[in-house]
């Protein structure tokens, strides 16, 4: 499979006053199409930072970061935003649904940025809600859904634009064991049945077990070689 994410000598640091805070140091990483990669590591090791970089939410301080052949570090802000809208699906620890919108409307939201007609949008939304098993809950507001159900709505929202890449930051971090299992099974299906490339940050060994490969971050450094299969 061809690489979808290519990272070479990537470094990221923040400035706190006039002090440099190094967060990621000399990262080299290749993620192939269809991969399911788990990023693990202690709190503060830079997992979220790396994930955000891959998803185009942030820019590296130096190094190369290519996604689908595009050097996203060099895209201007507005193009980067458009690029995310078309290529990346997001899953967050706290679901991040709009509380004032129904499940259906939450999933429809990213489609507003596409040229799809109202009818086409409805078809897409219905399809992904069925896929996550919540077709019967589409008129519910997030507050009327359990955590696991909310996360499945969030997965539907990530999936609805048919992204090449799905990034998930501790998607089971806020769920009980049974709900976490559901969500992980669902993600596995996205990967296996739909061929989505997934990068997932997690603290949970069992979650990482679903991934094809696990990479560990420690103090901003990738500590192991690729290929560690669970």
């Amino acid at each position: 499979m061809s690489p979808i994410v290519e990272i070479e000598n990537l470094t990221k640091h923040y400035w706190r006053g006039d002090q440099i805070v190094p967060v990621l140091t000399n990262i080299n990483l290749v993620i192939r199409e269809g991969d399911f990669l788990a990023l693990m590591g202690p709190s503060g090791s830079g997992k979220s930072t790396l994930l955000n970089l891959i998803a185009g939410l942030d820019r590296p301080t130096s190094g190369v970061l290519r996604v689908s052949g595009i050097n996203i570090a060099e895209l201007p802000e507005s193009s980067l935003t458009d690029w995310r809208a078309a290529h990346v699906g997001f899953i967050f620890q706290f679901y991040n649904l709009m509380p004032v919108l129904t499940a259906f409307e939450n999933v429809e939201l990213p489609l507003l940025l596409t040229g799809l007609s109202k009818r086409e949008r409805r078809e897409h939304v219905n399809l992904v809600l069925q896929l996550v098993g919540l077709a019967d809950r589409m008129d519910h507001y997030p507050s009327q859904l359990s955590g696991g159900q909310q996360q499945r709505v969030a997965i539907a929202r990530a999936l609805v634009i048919d992204p090449a890449l799905i990034v998930a930051d501790e998607p089971t971090g806020d769920l009980d064991r049974a709900s976490a299992e559901d969500v992980l099974d669902l993600m596995e299906r996205l990967n296996v049945d739909l061929g989505k490339t997934i990068v997932m940050v997690t603290h949970d060994q069992r979650a990482a077990g679903k991934a094809h490969s696990i990479r560990h971050l420690d103090k901003g450094i990738l500590t192991d070689d690729p290929g560690a299969v669970a």
């Binding site: 942030d58 004032v100 939201l109």
Partner: protein, 386 residues
């Protein structure tokens, strides 16, 4: 984009209490603003109802000094003066000091001719002209005290001592909205005849002459011509347009009017600050949601629309309610003021200003939160606990 609009409106209604209180605050502010502006307008109403074809001649020293009635004939000689009447401020008290309304002793026939905006039915006019003890009152004034034709109106003199009484012979209405319907007018002869007996030194005197001129653009020239006639005489005159004359009254209270205007803007500024705080609070609470929208691919344009739209919907919606509420409030005030202000009406210009103020409130409240949300890095926004 209907979904986006729905997101905006539901965000607006998210905190019912907060939105309700903000709405209430804006309504009160706009009502206050409109009423204050209307008070200012009412003050200037006298000047606005003037005619460019009328001049007022008064004693050059001060309004409180009269002019001899004999001036009338000499003024009439001037070419370009097509009509002349005169009046005295009476300043009597009707039952109680608090019942204020303007009273003038006038030369009835010429006065009604010079003020065609005082509309009187033919029979009432004839009855008034015939009865030397007669008087006429404006519709608003008659309404205020429940006067009917034939009623005897007693006035206690202050400038002209004694107890006076007049028979109401007519109730005039204004030809236009801005016409003063609070005047009480009676025969100058009535006043003069009495003075001849009781206080002859003050008889044969008038407060002001009202002149009609043939062309409005000759006002300056004719004013000068009148004043030149009486130069170096015992009572020199000062002639000016009716508008300038009326504005002279306003000028005495100009400082108060400026203060009222300033207060009206301060009210708007305060509600601006209050609403800006509300919007900033909302934006802060929703940082994670806005960050999510940004992550999903909604650019600054969308976020600005979302925040500005919510803010404007709230401020303009409340502003319109405020303007609507201002009408009954103004009606109530007008009834309380009674005849104090001849005209107390919310002008279209005030409505425009009120709407403009509501737009500005919404704009000002949205600018800072929108800027914060747009410039906040997505990663930071996602990390914040909502």
């Amino acid at each position: 984009m209907l979904l986006f609009l729905r997101l905006m409106l539901r965000n607006l209604l998210r905190h019912k209490l907060r939105t309700g209180l903000t709405t209430l605050g804006i309504i009160i502010a706009i009502v206050a603003f409109v009423l204050l502006r209307t008070v200012v307008d009412a003050w200037y109403a006298g000047a606005e109802a003037t005619s460019a074809h009328r001049l007022i001649t008064r004693n050059a020293i001060s309004l409180t000094f009269p002019l001899p009635i004999s001036y009338a004939n000499r003024i009439r000689q001037i070419d370009g003066i097509t009509g002349l009447s005169y009046s005295n401020w009476f300043g009597g008290v009707y039952i109680d000091e608090r019942n204020f309304f303007p009273q003038f002793a006038i030369e009835p026939k010429s006065y009604l001719e010079l003020y065609p905006e005082l509309v009187l039915s033919e029979s009432e006019e004839a009855a008034f002209l015939k009865d030397r003890k007669g008087a006429i009152a404006g519709r608003k004034l008659a309404q205020e005290y429940g006067w009917k034709i034939g009623d005897v109106i007693p006035l206690r003199g202050t400038i002209y001592a004694g107890n006076w009484s007049f028979v109401l012979r007519g109730i005039y209405r204004g030809a236009e909205k801005k016409t003063d319907e609070t005047l009480f007018l009676f025969h100058w002869d009535n006043l003069n005849e009495t003075l001849k007996k009781t206080d002859p030194a003050r008889a044969e005197r008038v407060g002001v002459f009202v002149l009609r001129i043939d062309r409005a653009d000759r006002a300056a020239e004719l004013s000068e011509a009148v004043d030149r006639l009486f130069e170096n005489s015992l009572a020199e005159t000062l002639t000016e347009t009716e508008e300038a004359f009326q504005l002279g009254f306003v000028a005495m209270t100009e400082a108060i009017l400026i203060a009222i205007k300033i207060v009206s803007f301060v009210v708007i500024a305060i509600i601006m600050a209050v609403m800006a705080n509300t919007m900033a609070m909302s934006a802060r609470e929703r940082r994670r949601e806005y960050a999510t929208l940004k992550a999903v691919g909604f650019g600054p344009r969308y976020l600005l629309t979302l925040i500005l739209g919510e803010s404007l919907a709230l401020s303009i919606g409340s502003g319109v309610l405020g303007i609507v509420a201002a009408f009954p409030a103004a009606g109530f005030l007008a009834s309380k003021f009674g005849t104090l202000f001849p005209v107390f009406e919310i002008s279209p210009h005030t409505i425009e200003l009120g709407l403009l103020a509501s737009c500005l409130i919404g704009l000002a409240a949205a600018v800072f939160p929108a800027w914060r949300v747009i410039t906040l890095p997505v990663g930071e926004g996602l990390r914040s606990i909502g």
